[in-house]
């Protein structure tokens, strides 16, 4: 059963995966079929729960032994994967087809040196390779994926690597045994946009060089656009649409694909006026609500002192939306927490409606707590899992001094209704809800004391793109109807453009550029902003290729 060069590298026919649960079987993948020619790239795209990772795992039969029921056929390089005996399957895994996972921090063993882990995999697939030769090969592949000083780095443990370097190390492990197929499951989702662009460029380069076939799993249509030849859009475990990437993203046939594309925020398009509002609905900015001057935050002491926020000055006017963008470590979360005074600034002044609040103690801050509220990133961990959602919303009311419990409950039910949840869900617990619904609860809780300013820290980054669009629409609506001012913190440049009036770009604790969104996005002045914008994935494969060429030339 040797594979001919013309045979498809991957051939999946009628793949179905069921996960048995206490409440009956859950069908994660339902009758999916596709083929991939050698050296070609296929994108498996879809929202969470669409079954895309389950399909990817089935290519190496990683479901074996987990209790999942897999039917249909999966052939990789001519071998029937689902029927392959253990030994043959082990040879396939990592030898013929290698997998790269999403979270590069947890995907490597923290206890062993990176080079040793690569060498270990190599020795499994090339029995007879000496330890020394395996180590040398590990250094070679680390060098190939662009790790500087690979001989020294090979001896480091994963926690000594940055996120991007870890993902490169995983790619090096994948390349070690010269596979014919690379399966990448959300390989850049945990990375900053500039690092994401570097990793995707590297993937592209490796494929061009070695003729690797690629199956790329991603929720980000922009990532798929720039990296694959064909896409398979999945929804609820079924194929929604399949075809060449330019066709599917350029002129989608399936209603779901259209919906998905419409929900993707565009970094290159000016904000469309929100539905129902007048064109250019942003109200004229009112008086300054919150003013920061020379704000600074340091952590640690002595030699370990780091400056997270460094001399930041900004103003939020009543009723306006200020976007704060920055990559991980830029200090945006620290800044957000100082603005609501969850943290005390090390230096600088912070004024709320003309009153200095930077140094106030907890008791003096009490009245401010009702005026300035925060919405957090992770809606599942920022709600108390042991309290009903209604109680979580009512709590801030009680904290603000509402002593009549019936009134508090009534108001909490109104708020649930206001954010688009059924008030009768008052007595349900957070785990009964989806991510988007939980974020609505988080917003309702923040609205409870009737604040004037809402600081939202990455409020949509844990959500699917369609849910993301719903939540940003909700925030825009609340802002319009309640006259709320928003500080919108996010790493996603497109989302920030979609919701903000003005934007400030943070880098290493400093604001490098600030201005009206359209001005900053359309003609960025600072090279850092230009670099960030150049790294954002775009939906048009041709534009993506052009941007890649530009990055390569730079």
């Amino acid at each position: 059963m040797t594979a001919q060069p013309t045979d498809p590298l991957v051939e999946v026919t009628d793949l179905t995966v069921d996960f048995p649960t206490a409440a009956g079987d859950v069908r994660a993948v339902d009758g999916v079929s596709f083929r991939l020619a050698p050296g070609r790239a296929l994108g498996l795209v879809g929202e969470s729960g669409s079954g895309k990772s389950t399909v990817a795992a089935a290519l190496l039969d990683l479901h074996r032994g987990t209790g999942a029921r897999v039917t249909g056929t999966v052939r990789v390089a001519g071998r029937d994967v689902l029927a392959a005996p253990e030994a043959a399957l082990r040879r396939l895994r990592g030898g013929t087809a290698a997998m790269v996972f999403q979270d590069p921090l947890s995907s490597l063993d923290p206890y062993y040196a990176v080079g040793d882990q690569i060498a270990e995999v190599l020795r499994v697939h090339r029995p007879g390779t000496s330890r020394r030769a395996a180590r040398a090969r590990a250094v070679e592949v680390l060098d190939r994926v662009g790790i500087a000083d690979p001989a020294r780095r090979a001896r480091a443990r994963p926690h000594e690597f940055s996120g991007g370097m870890r993902q490169r190390a995983l790619l090096a492990m994948a390349l070690a045994c010269e596979p014919r197929l690379l399966i990448a499951d959300e390989p850049t989702t945990a990375l900053d946009v500039t690092v994401q662009a570097q990793i995707l460029d590297l993937l592209h380069e490796l494929r061009a060089e070695s003729g690797l076939g690629l199956v790329l799993v991603t929720h980000d249509l922009g990532v798929a656009a720039g990296s694959v030849d064909e896409v398979l859009v999945l929804r609820g475990g079924r194929e929604a649409e399949r075809g060449p990437v330019a066709e599917v993203l350029g002129s989608p046939r399936a209603a779901y694909t259209k919906e998905l594309l419409a929900a993707v925020p565009r970094v290159d398009a000016a904000r469309v006026p929100p539905p129902g509002g007048a064109a250019g609905a942003a109200p004229a900015p009112g008086e300054p609500l919150l003013e920061a001057v020379g704000l600074r935050k340091e952590f640690g002491r002595g030699r370990e002192r780091t400056t997270a926020v460094d001399d930041v000055s900004l103003t939020v006017a009543a009723g306006e939306v200020l976007g704060l963008v920055g990559e991980s470590g830029s200090g945006k979360t620290t800044l957000g927490r100082m603005l609501v005074r969850l943290m005390e600034p090390t230096a600088g002044s912070l004024r709320y409606r003309g009153r200095e609040i930077g140094r106030l103690g907890e008791r003096q801050l009490r009245p401010l707590r009702a005026e300035v509220q925060m919405v957090f990133q992770d809606p599942s961990s920022s709600l108390n899992p042991r309290r009903t959602i209604g109680e979580s919303v009512a709590d801030p009311l009680r904290a603000a001094g509402e002593s009549d419990d019936r009134r508090a409950v009534r108001r909490a039910r109104e708020l649930l209704d206001r954010v688009g949840l059924d008030p009768d869900w008052y007595h349900r617990y957070p785990h009964e809800f989806s991510g988007g619904q939980r974020q609505r609860v988080g917003i309702a809780r923040a609205l409870a004391p009737a604040p004037r300013l809402l600081v939202c820290d990455e409020p949509v980054s844990a959500l699917d793109v369609t849910t993301q669009a719903q939540i940003t629409a909700l925030l825009a609506e609340l802002r319009r109807e309640l006259g709320l001012a928003l500080v919108f913190i996010a790493h996603d440049l497109a989302v920030v453009r979609a919701v903000s009036d003005r934007v400030a770009v943070l880098r290493a604790g400093r604001i490098v550029e600030e201005g009206p969104v359209d001005r900053v996005y359309d003609s960025p002045q600072h090279p850092y902003t230009q670099g960030l914008l150049a790294a954002v994935p775009v939906l048009d494969p041709q534009v993506a290729a052009g941007k890649r060429a530009l990055r390569a030339a730079a």
């Binding site: 979270d103 062993y112 270990e120 995999v121 926690h159």
Partner: protein
């Protein structure tokens, strides 16, 4: 790292100092006159006065404590009326019972307790970690069930019951083993091990269920981690995945707990020592409390305290060495 060790050392000294104050105070709160106790039951009032004078019991409490501390640094001479008994530094006093320096007594007993504790540790690690690993990998298998019942029974049964049963079975009925008596390792290693086998087993049975549970939960936790999936997806045999990667991740908590348990064994194995007639620290402590031999009580308590304090510092260092992501500050 150096700063960490210094800080730990300072903390350890503080703990020992406080311990010595508390024990020293007990010395005086304890019912009975130390001089009468030291002198023995057949002393008349004159002799007792003489002893009180020799022991410096007429001085104030603070002065006596300072003398006690000073003796640790420089040694101390005790007059016996007929001559002078020198107690070399570090001096923790002389036993009321036989006039021997406390340090000599402790020095004699330490190897016994160390032999008991270390041997038992090897056994409880083998039994506990083995059982835990097995139950993480083959849940519900026959070997796992037998071992789990064995370790749980061992923990649930008081050591004097387990120990007696072992003695009756292996020494009295089957006569496979001698009734334990301590033979120093340096004298005859084989006899040393044979004689200690039963006490080791009794202690190991007592401790192993804890290690089985800890190993099991830590292994299951590691097996659920993403990097295990990575190595499975790269074609490693399950044996290598578990042996090299899952077990490695489960070890740090086991190592840390083990260091503390080992420290506790130095004072906590008194039942075992007494039952098997091993002249260790625990037995010494029990004996000295029973005979109200106060200098020995103070010395032994401090010695055991030192073992626990050192063990907890060692546990921290081992944890950091086992998991390099942890930094000691």
């Amino acid at each position: 790292m150096t700063g960490y060790v210094l800080r730990k050392l300072g903390g350890a000294l503080l703990v020992l100092f406080l311990l010595s104050v508390v024990v020293y105070l007990l010395f005086y709160v304890a019912p009975g006159d130390p001089a009468r106790l030291a002198c023995g039951p057949r002393c008349d009032a004159g002799q007792i006065r003489q002893v009180r004078d020799q022991l410096g019991l007429d001085e104030s409490l603070v002065a006596q404590y300072l003398h006690f501390l000073q003796a640790i640094g420089t040694g101390r001479d005790f007059s016996t009326g007929t001559g002078v008994l020198h107690c070399p530094a570090p001096c923790f006093g002389l036993s009321y019972q036989n006039g021997q320096p406390v340090t000599t007594l402790l020095g004699d007993r330490l190897p016994v307790t160390a032999s008991l504790a270390c041997g038992a540790m090897v056994l409880w690690l083998l039994l506990g970690v083995g059982t835990g690993l097995l139950s993480a990998l083959r849940r519900g298998g026959p070997a796992e069930r037998v071992l789990t019942v064995l370790t749980l029974t061992g923990t649930a049964t008081p050591v004097f019951v387990t120990g007696l049963l072992l003695l009756m079975l292996f020494c009295a009925s089957l006569q496979w083993l001698p009734f334990p008596s301590y033979v120093p390792l340096t004298e005859d290693p084989e006899q040393w091990a044979w004689n200690l086998l039963l006490p080791w087993t009794a202690l190991a049975l007592l401790e192993s269920a804890k290690y089985a549970r800890l190993t099991r939960s830590a292994t299951l936790e590691t097996l659920a981690e993403d990097h295990i999936r990575t190595f499975r997806a790269y074609g490693l045999r399950e044996r290598a995945v578990v042996g090299r990667h899952a077990l490695r991740g489960a070890l740090p908590p086991v190592i840390a707990l083990n260091a503390i348990d080992l420290g506790t064994m130095f004072g906590g194995a008194m039942l075992t020592e007494t039952l098997f007639g091993l002249p260790g620290l625990g037995q010494l402590l029990v004996h000295s409390v029973r005979t109200v031999d106060l200098p020995v009580v103070v010395g032994t308590v401090l010695g055991i305290g030192a073992a626990v304090v050192v063990a907890s510092a060692v546990a921290d260092v081992l944890y950091a060495l086992a998991d390099r992501r942890v930094t000691l500050t």
